[in-house]
């Protein structure tokens, strides 16, 4: 048999590499801007399109799906071809994948600042873009499996298993978390409501971290680290064990984002147990990576790619130890909703994802351009300024998290809240916010230096778009004569491997999701909880558009420190008409679940116009455009109809009179404001937002009045 000559496609790798660097700089720059807005609200340039609530999702989407996403595809397209000893299945599909993914990112850049959002964290993009993501993901899958099928290497190396698990799990997560009913081209309502919606979202959110930020990077680590250190992975057996354990366990851990909420207690306990167990497979990966460098530590001193790898793996180890610790209820009680979580995710994102990406770029770009790196000194500078940036980012955020978390829980000897004003705790941590933005800027500066270094490297070399390689074609196996063990056989059958991975992730998914989604007794209903009025529903949609959920939670945990501060703790039955749920994950401002009736309409009007009028020192931006903009009521009927389809009990034909009801209620609020000498037309957006805020958490009070 003659060896076959073929060519690796380096051009697609180069394209994804450029996209990684460009979107990385943009995403991190937006991150620095939103970080500064947290102590200088005026940094929104008095513009609704650049205000925190709308731009924070742009930052998270840009760094996760644009920076990390493109880096994943760069790493996979480079390593998969070489591990399979084959060119990518189809150049056309590679191109469609590349441009399709960039189109998704551009759509996000346009729609998120416009306030077009589902409000599901890391899944904010609206339904037409969700469909586009599905198509592009399928294209990627066909291209990947096509390459695996036409391979010249019989056995599938562990890196590719991680890629397969990534593909199949992200597909499942994306589809289930995007189940929504379109109301218009730019608006939809989630199929699930309240607790169920929260469970689905955090099953998705946590596993997006697992299968987008972790498994593809572990796969890349298993390919690139042996290449960089020029030695095989420390233990291949450990890689098999930790692969199966990781994908099995990760899927169960999502609800630890919902501890002390109205999620059924058994689901909370279950996810805590599995979160603790998650340390083992996570550290299995880290240890396997670090021990690959045994006997090669001298290389780490000279080779900047290995330096990035070592710090990246260490950050992974730190983040995956801290994650399980944060899932312990006692720790979570303090850390959740605070900047501790922001520190935690950034150790992972800046350290693990960022540094591994930089290592791969520094290793890969000189190779595909057949040259040397332009400047080792610049790369070394990048390493040190990046490391400093992580420290300057994470330490102030930990400090801020502990400080605020503890202050919010502190009582006086008389049993009163020591800091009854939420704002007082915020003002205490403003210096930490300033330092954090310095840390972020240092990290970004390093990335810009890297971009220049890689550009100069590319200019001094010449891209080898098609890299020649040779390998023997695969011989046909005689199945009858095979005496191979089970796992060895599995390693030869990619489709079977896909099914096996799918089964493993579906076990946890079903046990954890199905009871809450299907058993009614898990969500006790409350008779006095009624659907939102049309005006409140419209106000809620403005609240979603402005991204208020990025700073304000709507769920009160059953702690005395919270019930004293915010009011009665949340009940599952209060959220049954909330499509989507708006519990939030971070309290930069106070919880709003019992906001209704706390203040008068005029207080809200003045507060939204300029928060500092009512709360001096507040870091909330002005929402003065709500006073000027007319509420769009053209979609009210469609919204009511969509809600009816989802089971919200509006009377039949209510959609036809919804706008009349809306106008009546709006006039009432405008008249009420007029009594306080505030002249505003009843058709402005602010009226709807006030209506919604005044409704929040009040139904349960009506229940009490009725019982009396």
């Amino acid at each position: 048999m003659q060896p076959e000559k073929f060519y690796y496609d380096n051009k697609i790798v180069r394209n994804f590499g450029i996209a990684t660097v460009v979107w990385g700089i943009i995403g991190m720059l937006v991150g620095v801007i939103v970080a500064i807005q947290l102590y200088q609200p005026a940094m929104n340039m008095h513009n609704q399109y650049t205000t925190f609530g709308r731009v924070r999702p742009l930052h998270t989407n840009a760094v996760i799906f644009a920076f990390v996403g493109n880096a994943i595809f760069m790493g996979i397209y480079y390593s998969l071809q070489r591990l399979m000893k084959a060119r990518m299945f189809s150049d056309a599909l590679s191109k469609i994948h590349f441009w399709g993914w960039q189109l998704i990112i551009v759509s996000a850049v346009i729609t998120l600042p416009l306030g077009i959002t589902t409000s599901h964290e890391y899944a904010e993009l609206e339904w037409p873009i969700d469909i586009l993501i599905t198509i592009v993901w399928v294209v990627f899958g066909i291209n990947m499996f096509g390459t695996i099928i036409k391979r010249r290497e019989r056995h599938i190396y562990v890196a590719v298993w991680f890629y397969i698990a990534t593909f199949v799990t992200i597909a499942v997560l994306h589809i289930v978390n995007s189940l929504e009913i379109p109301v218009s081209f730019t608006k939809s309502y989630m199929v699930f409501a309240g607790v169920q919606d929260a469970l689905v979202q955090w099953w998705y959110g946590h596993n997006a971290v697992a299968f987008f930020l972790t498994t593809p990077y572990l796969g890349m680590m298993y390919y690139f680290l042996p290449k960089m250190a020029n030695r095989p992975i420390y233990s291949y057996k450990l890689s098999i064990l930790h692969f199966w354990a990781l994908i099995f366990i990760y899927i169960w851990a999502g609800p630890h984002h919902l501890l002390y909420t109205t999620l059924p207690g058994w689901a909370q306990s279950l996810c805590v147990a599995f979160s603790i167990m998650l340390i083992a497979p996570s550290w299995g990966g880290m240890i396997n990576g670090l021990l690959t460098l045994r006997g090669a530590w001298d290389k780490v001193r000279d080779d900047v790619t290995l330096k990035f790898m070592v710090v990246g793996l260490t950050a992974y180890g730190m983040a995956t130890f801290e994650g399980p610790m944060l899932s312990l209820k006692q720790v979570n009680a303090i850390g959740h909703f605070t900047d501790w979580i922001i520190a935690h995710v950034h150790v992972g994102a800046l350290g693990w994802n960022g540094f591994l990406t930089f290592a791969i770029l520094y290793w890969l770009v000189p190779r595909i351009y057949k040259t040397e790196l332009y400047s080792k000194k610049m790369a070394s500078f990048h390493f040190w300024i990046g490391t400093l940036g992580i420290l300057f980012y994470a330490i102030p955020m930990y400090w801020a998290g502990f400080t605020q978390g503890l202050m919010l829980k502190e009582f006086t000897p008389e049993g009163m809240l020591k800091y009854p004003s939420f704002l007082e705790t915020t003002m205490r941590i403003i210096p930490m916010y300033v330092m954090r933005s310095v840390g972020g800027t240092l990290y970004l500066a390093g990335v810009i230096v890297m971009a220049f270094n890689l550009y100069k490297t590319a200019v001094q070399g010449k891209l080898v778009p098609n890299e020649a390689a040779e390998a023997m074609p695969l011989e046909k196996l005689n199945p009858a004569a095979s005496t191979e063990r089970w796992h060895r056989r599995l390693e030869r059958k990619p489709m079977l491997f896909l099914v096996a991975s799918l089964v493993v992730i579906l076990i946890g998914t079903f046990i954890e999701l199905m009871p809450t989604l299907t058993v009614a007794s898990n969500i006790p209903t409350i008779a006095s909880v009624k659907p939102y009025t049309p005006l409140e529903l419209q106000g809620r949609d403005v609240y979603i558009r402005e991204g208020c959920v990025n700073c304000h939670s709507q769920t009160i945990r059953p702690f005395r420190s919270e019930t004293e501060r915010y009011g009665e703790y949340s009940k599952a039955g209060e959220f049954v008409y909330d499509h989507p749920f708006l519990w939030g994950s971070k309290r930069t401002g106070p919880d709003l679940q019992r906001e209704g009736g706390k203040y008068g309409d005029s207080w809200h009007y003045n507060h939204l116009m300029d928060p500092r009028l009512m709360s001096p020192g507040s870091i909330m931006p002005n929402y003065d455009w709500l006073i000027k903009q007319k509420l769009d009521t053209s979609g009210t009927a469609a919204k009511i109809k969509a809600m009816q389809k989802l089971g919200v009990p509006y009377p039949a034909g209510y959609d036809k009179i919804a706008n009349q009801e809306l106008e009546k209620q709006a006039k009432g609020i405008a008249d009420n404001l007029a009594k306080d000498h505030i002249r505003v037309k009843s058709n402005k957006e602010i009226i709807a937002v006030i209506a919604y805020l005044q409704r929040l958490g009040t139904d349960i009070k009506a229940n009490k009045t009725a019982n009396k």
């Binding site: 690796y8 390593s79 070489r82 591990l83 000893k85 056995h155 190396y157 562990v158 298993y222 390919y223 042996p226 290449k227 020029n230 095989p232 992975i233 291949y236 057996k237 098999i240 064990l241 199966w244 354990a245 099995f248 366990i249 169960w252 059924p264 207690g265 058994w266 689901a267 909370q268 306990s269 279950l270 805590v272 147990a273 599995f274 167990m277 000279d302 080779d303 900047v304 790619t305 312990l328 006692q330 520094y362 290793w363 000189p366 190779r367 040259t371 040397e372 790196l373 080792k376 790369a379 890299e467 020649a468 390689a469 390998a471 063990r485 796992h487 060895r488 390693e491 946890g508 046990i511």
Partner: protein
């Protein structure tokens, strides 16, 4: 620390125990399969990334 589990899962222990049991079985099965793998095969698999058929390139960062 673990009092929360024993206190708050009345009537729901079955979920926890059943889930743990599934994982235990799964883990044991994978571990047994691993122990049965041949060293020769493990060595072959570990070396795959280092034999990628492309022209050998020196560590360009070090030159």
């Amino acid at each position: 620390m673990f009092r929360q589990f024993t206190e708050h899962i009345d009537g729901n222990q079955v979920y926890l125990l059943f889930s743990m049991f599934i994982f235990l079985v799964f883990f044991i099965v994978v571990a047994i399969l691993l122990l049965r793998l041949r060293k020769q095969h493990i060595d072959y698999m570990s070396d795959i990334p280092l034999n990628d058929c492309a022209e050998e390139t020196p560590n360009l960062l070090k030159s």
